[in-house]
């Protein structure tokens, strides 16, 4: 009724300089002279890099051929990955048993994906994890149901990387929280121990811990006793990650206001209750971003076990590159590995962002 209904009225589109792709380009890419310059430089650099890369990676490349065929081409020899995939991913796992580590990895992934939703964090899930881990361990080790035993020194490739990082994170996290609480403790013995531990571990690089565990530690053991190499490296990784987590969590604890503690006291809560119900839920939430940062670097640090001759997925790739048939194709193999690591790390960090959002209760 109130609307003017004039048939002669023309609705003009907004001027082309204000909307549409052209306007977007002008507004975002060419709004000042230096942005224009940057845009042109970037475009130039891309034009310089992308077509040759594309040609190398996709047009003149081979995807599944023998290494001899690769000698005659200019482009990428991606064949190195499919031709060696069994060794790169599974390492020494005996032939004919490959389904076992693959199934174990799928199981782990399934459990992780299932646990993503917070609504599923129930008692059932608390049971599913230990059972799942036992099944995975059985699959890997064998010895029952007609599966031949596969010793831990034959666990290699991606399953080893996943195992080292998964247990590295899962065991280091609670240990780190305990250490952080210990450092805040009023009991001098516990406090000193925690401080000494944290500072000592943080004072040395992971490589030196791994060297200690693999070269010096065996000499201290009584004659005839050896401890599994994988386990030694695993313990070193857990110890290392825990110290860093402890410091991050301490940051969260220090961010809590005194009022929170006093409120808990006035409610008559004892120390464990205070921590479990009031302090930790808030403190840990604050430190999600730095914690994820530490977990991500712990995941990537597992590749350092290369230097103690454990065959994680990086080492199996390097060994493949030592084979004279494939030596020239390091770029392709490392790009594949980079992609593998990127997928894992990206999944972790995007999950942490979501968790942060869900847990956000601030104003």
């Amino acid at each position: 009724m109130n609307q003017p209904n004039n048939p002669t009225r023309e609705y003009l589109a907004a001027p082309i300089s204000k909307v549409g792709p052209l306007a977007w380009v002008k507004k975002n890419l060419f709004n000042t002279w230096y942005n224009s310059l940057l845009t042109i430089l970037t475009l130039g650099a891309l034009a310089y890099i992308v077509p040759p890369f594309f040609k190398w990676a996709f047009i003149e490349s081979l995807w599944n051929s023998s290494s001899d065929a690769c000698r005659d081409i200019e482009g990428a020899c991606w064949s190195i990955v499919p031709q060696n995939i069994k060794f790169i991913i599974l390492g020494f796992f005996p032939e004919g048993q490959e389904w076992r580590p693959i199934l174990a990895m799928i199981l782990l992934l399934a459990l992780v994906i299932y646990s993503k939703e917070r609504s599923r964090w129930t008692k059932l899930l608390a049971w599913m994890w230990p059972i799942g881990l036992i099944i995975m361990g059985t699959l890997m080790y064998g010895g029952v149901f007609g599966m031949p035993v596969v010793e831990t020194d034959q666990w290699s490739g991606l399953p080893l990387t996943m195992m080292l990082s998964f247990f590295g994170m899962v065991m280091a996290y609670p240990l780190g929280v305990l250490l952080a609480l210990g450092r805040q403790s009023k009991m001098p013995a516990i406090k000193t121990l925690s401080v000494v531990y944290i500072e000592m571990i943080r004072g040395v690089p992971l490589i030196s811990l791994l060297f200690m565990s693999s070269i010096m530690f065996p000499l201290f053991l009584p004659d005839g006793m050896t401890i599994n190499k994988v386990l030694r490296a695993q313990v070193a990784i857990i110890m290392f990650t825990a110290a860093y987590i402890a410091e991050v969590v301490r940051g969260g604890l220090q961010a809590m206001q005194r009022g929170q503690y006093e409120a808990a006291d006035s409610l008559g809560l004892n120390y464990p209750q205070t921590m479990r119900l009031i302090i930790l839920p808030q403190a840990l939430k604050i430190v999600i971003p730095p914690t994820v940062g530490i977990l991500l670097s712990a995941f990537k640090d597992t590749s350092l076990v290369v230097i103690i001759a454990l065959y994680d997925v990086l080492k199996t790739t390097k060994v493949t590159l030592q084979n004279p048939h494939w030596t020239g194709y390091s770029t392709e193999a490392y790009l594949f590995l980079a992609l593998l690591y990127f997928i894992c790390c990206y999944a972790m960090s995007s999950y942490s962002r979501r968790l942060e959002k869900e847990l956000h209760t601030g104003h």
Partner: protein, 339 residues
């Protein structure tokens, strides 16, 4: 509660992984274990490296297999433990491995201070130089002023510097950290000479765009006798390891191969009869089955076969026998009589 359970399970799992391995103080404990633990390189093609399927291959690996064949009559009773250069001697000292077959150079200080016993050498190596053919150089003495590609921080670098200095020549080193990058740099023409152990040079040459464009100069500027090693204090095991290597050499001397070993059992030659256990005695002396040498030759082969299979002219490495030929053919491989 959930956390407690998870931790409990994890602890149980780790307990599974802790093993008490018996240090092979004598042959009996190795026998009780049912396999030998051999420390291997894990990253040198032709000597000790897993193939595409994860199966161990190489000259050192075959040496370990020969020892297993001698002790257990089954060359597959070996557990391979890949070791880095830093780890290898500790692993032997601490009992993590029984025998080290990881291209280790036999030296005086290693025999004494490190408490190792090296057995018969299974590969004589030495540092050499590789140059492009079109450089027109025939001897390392003509390399004055050359740019030399070399790995940093190794004895290789030092050996090369010493060689140039003692011959009053000038050397411009180009130092690059990784072996494969080093080779790539050399083939791209950034340096005139690549120096490394001769077996490594051969491996590098095999990945050149045109391998025939490069030659390895005849001079060897260092001695690298690569030999398996065991711990001190276990003489019987030492003997067994030593004679397992020697048995492969002796088999080649006697003309016994994995193919004709069964016919050779009928040979009238007393040397062959003693060697293969037809005339008994050697096995008993070593504390082994009389068939021990037969098993080595049958399952692993003689030294020549092992050499040709892993590093010989028909492999990617394409190494000549050279110093590793039998003494009868101008090499250094010589076995004492088996009697």
């Amino acid at each position: 509660m959930k956390l407690v359970k998870v931790i409990a399970v994890a602890i149980c799992m780790t307990m599974l992984m802790v093993g008490f391995a018996n240090a092979g103080k004598d042959l009996d404990s190795v026998k009780k274990k049912g396999y030998i633990q051999a420390g291997v390189n894990g990253g040198v093609f032709g000597f000790g490296m897993p193939d595409e399927k994860g199966v161990w291959k190489g000259l050192d690996v075959d040496t370990a297999r020969a020892i297993a064949a001698a002790i257990f009559g089954d060359a597959d009773k070996v557990k391979y433990i890949p070791l880095t250069a830093q780890q290898r001697f500790t692993a032997l000292q601490s009992g993590e491995i029984d025998v080290l077959t990881r291209n280790a150079t036999r030296t005086l200080s290693r025999e004494t201070q490190l408490g190792l016993n090296f057995v018969q050498v299974n590969y004589y190596d030495g540092q050499g130089f590789m140059v492009p053919k079109n450089l027109g150089v025939k001897s390392a003495k003509e390399l004055d002023g050359a740019t030399v590609c070399v790995l940093p921080g190794t004895t290789t670098e030092q050996n090369a510097a010493d060689f140039f200095r003692t011959n009053n020549m000038k050397m411009n080193p180009v130092v690059i950290e990784s072996t494969s990058e080093l080779a790539k740099t050399f083939f791209a023409g950034r340096c005139d000479v690549l120096t490394s152990d001769a077996s490594q040079l051969a491996a590098s040459r095999s990945i050149a765009p045109k391998p025939s464009d490069y030659i390895i100069l005849p001079e060897r500027i260092s001695k690298e006798p690569l030999a398996p090693a065991v711990r001190h204090g276990d003489d019987q095991f030492f003997d067994i390891v030593n004679f397992s290597v020697l048995a492969m050499i002796n088999a080649e001397e006697l003309g016994i191969t994995s193919k004709n070993v069964d016919e050779m059992l009928k040979s009238k030659n007393p040397k062959i009869q003693r060697f293969l256990g037809v005339i008994e005695g050697n096995g008993k002396a070593l504390g082994l089955d009389e068939k021990w040498a037969y098993n080595i030759v049958k399952q692993v082969g003689n030294y020549g076969e092992v050499f040709e299979r892993n590093v010989g002219v028909n492999t990617k490495l394409g190494l000549e026998r050279g110093l590793n030929a039998l003494w009868t053919e101008g090499g250094l491989m010589y076995s004492p009589p088996f009697k």
